[in-house]
């Protein structure tokens, strides 16, 4: 946060404090343009995002969609109990967190690295071509992508991964990659990077355009090397965006998706491929149990909030960019 100079004139501290409420409304009146520019959207978001939250009551009901809120049968915390007491819950959470951490770390590191590598490219045509191509897999649905991945990892003739590894003499017989549980997280992590690294790079590339070129010139004059320039100019230039995205993504950490896990999961790797969403899919949605799905949603929101507020206050304490 920059503290703009302009604030000084109207900063609350600078004014005598007649009464909090009056001062507030006075300021509000003064800032009416800003109010008009934002408050209608606050009303909008209240209607579209907060009003439907009455649906959380479903988690505490034996929900029947045809009945009104007060006609429902209330079952207390039984859905939560089912979720937390299931013997697989610990395993499911372990998988979810492992996938989430891998996705978060790998996702950030690869996207930022790619953005920097692209930024260091001198040939503009090559740069734009590489960037466009790397963005393509984002448009391939998981169903198609999972098929390509399963084929590439197959132990049969068409499994290119095994072929290459054998050719390099790194392995002496094909490995059934999707049949070994503890490979799954890695396979998933790499697949996600493969699919979305180009897409995720876009926001960093945009952030780089905001870096003042004179900073590079200054670093140049100081005799900074290529790496030093990246470290001293590019990365600090990206920092505000990176931190904001990091905080937002931390809040989303339990959203690890279900498609790739579902499509590439099987009995042999289930101990590692089943995450929270798959669990909810199996015991909630596919059984028509809206209540379990809602309970899991509430659980996720609680975790999200805890992480979000912690991350935000850590950022604040470190004097970094923060979300709110």
């Amino acid at each position: 946060m920059r503290n703009s100079i302009s604030v000084a004139a109207q900063s609350p501290e600078a004014l005598p404090r007649p009464s909090g409420v009056r001062r507030f409304f006075k300021l509000l009146l003064k800032q009416r343009t800003l109010v008009f520019m934002s408050v209608p959207f606050v009303i909008w978001i209240f209607v579209f995002k907060y009003l439907p939250l009455w649906g959380w009551t479903i988690a505490f009901q034996h929900y029947r969609p045809n009945l009104g809120l007060f006609e429902q049968e209330w079952v207390g915390l039984s859905q939560f109990k089912f979720l937390f007491a299931d013997e697989s819950f610990i395993r499911v959470m372990r998988n979810t967190l492992a996938m989430a951490v891998i996705k978060l770390v790998l996702g950030f590191v690869t996207a930022i690295t790619l953005a920097i590598l692209l930024n260091e490219l001198r040939m503009i045509v090559f740069k734009r071509t590489v960037q466009t191509i790397s963005y393509l897999p984002h448009f391939i649905s998981w169903v198609v992508a999972a098929n390509i991945i399963s084929t590439a990892l197959s132990i049969d003739n068409d499994g290119i991964v095994n072929k290459v590894l054998m050719w390099l003499h790194l392995i002496d017989k094909p490995i059934m990659w999707l049949g070994v549980g503890h490979y799954f997280w890695g396979i998933l992590g790499i697949s996600e990077v493969w699919k979305d690294v180009g897409w995720n790079t876009i926001v960093y590339l945009a952030a780089m355009t905001m870096i003042d070129p004179s900073q590079y010139e200054a670093a140049e004059i100081d005799g900074a090397s290529r790496f030093q320039r990246i470290l001293r100019v590019t990365l600090p230039g990206l920092k505000p965006v990176v931190i904001i995205l990091l905080i937002m993504n931390l809040g989303n950490i339990l959203e690890t998706g279900f498609e790739p896990q579902y499509l590439m999961g099987n009995g042999m790797n289930a101990d590692y491929s089943e995450n929270l969403e798959i669990f909810v899919l199996k015991y909630g949605i596919s059984m028509g149990n809206f209540s379990l799905a809602t309970a899991a949603g509430i659980f996720k929101t609680v975790i999200s909030f805890v992480l979000l507020f912690s991350a935000n206050s850590i950022a604040k304490r470190m004097g970094e960019e923060r979300l709110f």
Binding site: P65, N66, S154, M176, G179, N266, G267, G288
Partner: protein, 574 residues
Amino acid sequence: MVAKKFTMLGLALAMTAALAGCSSGGKSAGNSASPAASPSGSSPSASASGETAKEDLTPVTFTYFNANAQIPDIDSNKTEIGKKLEEQTGVNFKLQFPVGDVNTKIGTMIASGDYPDVLAPDTAIDKVLDAKGFIPLNDLIDQYGPNVKRVYEPYFNQMKAADGNIYFLPFSPVVGEYISNPTIDQGAFFIQRRVLKEFGYPKIKTLDEYFDLIKKYYDAHKGDNLTGFTSLTYDWRTMGIFNPPMHLAGYPNDGDVIVDMQTHEANVYADDDYTKRWLKKLNEINSEGLYDQSSFVNNYDQYLAKISSGNVLGFFDYGWEVDQALQNIKKTGNDDLDYMPLPIVFDDSVTDQYLDPPSFIDNRGVGITTSAKDPVRIMKFFDNMLKEENQVMIQWGFKGETYEVDDKGRFYRTQEQIDKLKDNATQQSIGFSYFNYSWPMYGQGSTLSDGNSFNAGRQPEVAQASFTEGDKLILDKYGVKTFSELFAKPEDRPWYPAWSISIEQGSPAQIFQQKSKDVKLKYFPKLVLSKPDQFESLWNEYLKEFGKLDVKGFENTLTQLIKNKIAKVTGSSN
């Protein structure tokens, strides 16, 4: 995912019928009634037809959301059959089919109370019933449904809800004598025809004989990059590895359980010797290099590709699941690579029961919703559809266009008609895709009053005409006329199929099904792919894990449900 299984089966049945019963033109439709109605004096449709003249024929359009099929939305009167039905009744339907998840769509209908006039909710039917989305049909049937009564009356007991009302009409009331499907779209052990050919078309019956033959062929052709046996274990498509023990022991597909013929006790067989014997056999052939190691990681596409390659000597599956691959092989014209379905069992003494016995699926159907504008007109439309001449039309189509009648009154199709009807677009424009399932109808395998098969595909004349030269040759070698003749006749099982019995959503029994599936999926690959000397200890480990689930409770629940169903069924036959 029994529900899913059912959907597929239902679809497969529907489509069998669709394929078999095709036609092209509606111009001669007027004649179509005559052959059907002629032989029996008490024509099945007579009672209501006299009143038709006075009927209200003002044009009206209703909406029908049909979750059983996924075909393009259409106005029913844009199809030839629908046009004909509109001429008779004045009723047109806006037919709508799901694109996304059915449960979601129906969930929003229930929550908002806005239903289409007519609804076939497929697996979501329990929710619609629970929400009282359907109106009771009893009085409507009494007043306006003489044909509905004729067709469904024997099943009224099973159709009644706990409150004594009938809320929907199922699709499977068998009328007349039951005719089995001449081809195998259900479970079987498939073996490549070149294997049988090389050894002079031996008769093989037991699992050992089956694998011995595959091994003999495999050993004789080392270097050909062959796969001895493969299975599919992907998503809900796990029947290829889960279900064989039941069939090998001489039972039809009852899902997770084997039902005793005398006591009607349901028994989960996944922890039985049957399953152990099956897995041990797979373990054995795996150690001999015959088993496809990637069976447990392949997805459906990879599995189909494997079978289409022609390099797989054998597999167990349900016909409808592998058909895309089999069609592909047929297209190559190399009959050696084609497959033969066989009713393999554990021992010589076992009688196979692969073929489905006649069954009345009482938890799928079509109902009139509380939003319906004019239930009377809809019921009249249903009743009109159930007239026998219209039942002929929805399956066989139009005489001279999509079927012919010989001098003995038998229906048949020319090669040209059969070929024409392979085209999906033709199926849709005539309306077979839209009308031969998901409406009040005669059940699959019904017989018309003149002795012709209700389903065109089950009429021997039609089946014969669609066999390839290779099909005919191999049938001849085994001395049979149809593929199903090699299979034993299904015994009567009033509860059949147990997998279609509704289990309450989210109940312990349903959770058991999911959990037991997970345990099986986890252990079966280990059991099959392990070294033979580890099999016993792994099996015990598996039993221990499986034993943690409430097997007994599930069996009791199912036994109770089966007994209830039997009581309803036998109650109705008195």
